[in-house]
Amino acid sequence: MWLFLATEVLFFGAIVLSWIYCRRWNPAGFDAGAQQTQLGIGTINTVILLTSSLVYSVGLAFIEAGNRRRLIQCCALAWALGLAFLILKFGIEYHKDFAQHLFPGPDFAINGALGGGARLFFVFYFVSTAVHGIHMIGGLILVGWIILRARGDEFSPLYHTPVVVVGLYWSFVDVVWIVLYALIYLVGRGS
């Protein structure tokens, strides 16, 4: 699993690198783009996702102590929080972005000198959040699978490797989000 995560790090590494590289050429345009993002939703989502990871880890601690019922409850809560993240992100935030013509298509909102950079910013924004969203959906499926297996009484303090492995993945998706959060919402907002 660690190996798989190494693959994932390089996968996201490529886009983060390109992002920073392009930003260097056109910081003002990127800032103009960043100022249009929904800081409120982004921050709430960060809190939700971190909480979800925390809850999952608590669940892991419970199964190590042998409490299967609590593991299921924790996983269910973590799952619900993940779903909330997706709804906020794709249901509400994307909707707002499209309404403000921030998708880098023909009727892009920001024009003029800063248009190119802002456009590029939103390319990275949409690609990276979409890819992250796909990983979230994968994560939800995995956590749901853990719940089902836990209900079937398959885990014990002696055997719960799948719980650990899915936990690694779930935390990794979190870590990616923390990097993206900084890149999307924080950098460039001050100026």
Partner: protein, 543 residues
């Protein structure tokens, strides 16, 4: 030697007789059957790519071009590159021979994740179908490198479909790489320590590390490329504020390591065959295995040498030049070790050995001409000429395809339970060697004289060398069709193979040919060092 090799018996059951329905093949999780599924698929792609190559050589028979418009020619060589690189060379040895023999060599029952193995084949097939679709829908004209902004803005071909296919094939590679790494870590038989593993396993391990770490970068690059093409935004397009060099950096960060994905398994195959047919322990085992690892590591640090003339800074070019020279060191060590293994050995020239010897010769030429290209000054003259084409064909085709055929012949008795006709095997090996040199050596000269690659016509003074090259290609084509014919023939009419026809060491030869579905009746226990061939004075001629 004698006791095991003379006995020839027919085994009642094997993995081939374990179910005859289509379903028992398409839903199998047996690594041996999946290897055969892969073998059939990549053979198909090899001949598609080969047909494109034949068209290229046909077109270049006359200076003004035989067939067609420049545009058609562009589509042909792009399809040749895409199919050969991603659908033959990268998967060739790992997923067929590797899939088949890795668990056998380790003394394991199967790979660590048999279902993942099957999924990876399906991903490969989906990708292959998409590529074939884009081929028939009109093809792509960007070259296999997809350089921007041509690929993102100006090309009229089916770039997105092809890119999606490569993206999916990439996941297939990652799955295979993960599977091998975990298998080699976890499923070694009792007593099989790291330094008792055959070299082939080490080289596949190094290959897998590259696959797992480099492929995702390509995946993300291709996503950005497709996004840019669909929505006309400029990540890589300078007119829209992007940077084409960024694409080249990211692309070659994957694609240069991928070159070693194509050649490292070949090193492994040859390292198995040379000791077996020299009846000698491999020379410098530790050096060979650590050179594989060194090549894998350095391969990540040399991508810049593809961009010497693309406008990178002179200092970074100098550094990349030096790093590129460094790859030559472990590669050369391996060549010397193989020669050292043969020295004073009891050499037999069976077909696998002939292919392996061809590999050493062709790879050495390919490697040495690589040094010309790593040299900053020489590269400025030679870049984008046929010299480059000849160089990488010597490494990829002369090296890797020879190694693939060497391995295929070597393990053919184990895979199918039948011997291939030895005489035809040798004839095939020699024809391929001659045809290959005939085809590609003239390209070194014509490239040095200044003929650029990827044009469908050329000045008349290059005609003689091009005709020579095309003539050689016909010999090469015969050389590739011949094994297809006699290997197919041997499936039905070949002699039954004994468990260990070559008298080789290695666990895969300790089980019957073809093996049981479970591989071994009981898990073997390893006590001997690798390549434990008896000293020369004990060796007697095989009966």
């Amino acid at each position: 030697m004698s006791a095991t090799t003379i006995e020839t018996s027919e085994y009642a059951s094997s993995y081939l007789t374990d179910g005859f329905t289509l379903r028992s093949w398409l839903l199998t999780t047996d690594h041996k059957r999946i290897a055969l599924l892969y073998l059939a698929s990549i053979t198909f792609f090899f001949f598609i790519g080969g047909a494109a190559a034949a068209l290229i050589r046909y077109n270049l028979l006359v200076p003004e071009g035989m067939i067609a418009s420049a545009e058609t020619y562009n589509r042909i060589f792009t399809m040749h590159g895409v199919v050969m690189v991603w659908f033959f060379l990268i998967p060739a040895v790992p997923v067929t021979l590797g899939n088949f023999v890795v668990p056998l060599m380790l003394g394991a029952r199967d790979l660590a994740f048999p279902k993942l193995n099957l999924i990876s084949w399906y991903l490969f097939i989906i990708a292959g179908v998409i590529v074939v679709y884009s081929l028939f829908a009109g093809g792509v004209d960007t070259g296999w490198t997809f350089y921007t902004p041509l690929a993102s803005e100006y090309s009229k071909g089916h770039v997105v479909a092809t890119v999606v296919a490569i993206f999916i094939a990439g996941f297939s590679s990652i799955a295979t790489g993960l599977n091998f790494i975990v298998t080699i870590h976890r499923l070694r038989a009792p007593g099989m320590t790291w330094y008792k593993m055959p070299v082939f396993l080490w080289s596949l391990y190094a290959t897998s590390v590259i696959l797992v770490l480099a492929t995702p970068v390509l995946a993300m690059t291709l996503i950005l490329l497709a996004f840019e093409r669909i929505f006309h935004v400029g990540v890589f397009d300078p007119a829209l504020g992007g940077d084409p060099l960024l694409f080249q950096h990211l692309f070659w960060f994957y694609s240069h390591p991928a070159v070693y994905v194509m050649i490292l398994p070949g090193f492994g195959v040859v390292s198995e065959i040379i000791p077996a047919f020299s009846r000698k322990r491999i020379f410098g085992y530790n050096f060979i295995v650590w050179c594989s690892v060194a090549i894998a590591v350095i391969s990540f640090l040399v991508w810049g040498h593809h961009m010497f003339v693309a406008g990178t800074s002179i200092y970074s070019a100098l550094v990349f030049s030096i790093l590129s020279y460094m790859v030559a060191v472990p590669s050369a060590i391996k060549v010397f070790n193989w020669i050292g293994t043969m020295h004073k050995g009891y050499i037999r020239f069976d077909a696998p050995m002939l292919y392996a010897l061809g590999f050493i010769g062709l790879f050495t030429i390919g490697g040495l001409t690589g040094l010309f290209l790593a040299a900053l000054g020489a590269d400025v003259h030679l870049t984008q000429t046929y010299f480059v084409v000849a160089h990488f064909h010597y490494v990829m085709v002369g090296g890797m395809v020879s190694a693939f055929f060497a391995g295929l012949h070597y393990w053919w008795p184990k895979i199918t339970g039948r011997m291939y006709p030895e005489m035809w095997g040798r004839v095939g090996a020699i024809i391929i060697f001659i045809g290959f040199n005939f085809t590609f050596f003239p390209q070194f000269i014509v490239g040095y004289l200044g003929m650029p690659r990827r044009y469908h016509s050329y000045p008349p003074e290059f005609e003689v060398l091009n005709v020579l090259s095309s003539a050689g290609a016909t010999i090469l084509a015969v050389g590739y069709l011949l094994p297809l014919a006699y290997l197919t023939w041997s499936l039905r009419y070949g002699d039954r193979a004994p468990a260990n026809p070559w008298g080789a060491t290695g666990l895969e030869w300790r089980t019957q040919s073809p093996p049981l579905t479970e591989n071994f009746d009981e898990t073997p226990i390893v006590t001997d060092p690798p390549y434990n061939y008896p000293p020369p004075e004990v060796v007697q001629r095989r009966v």
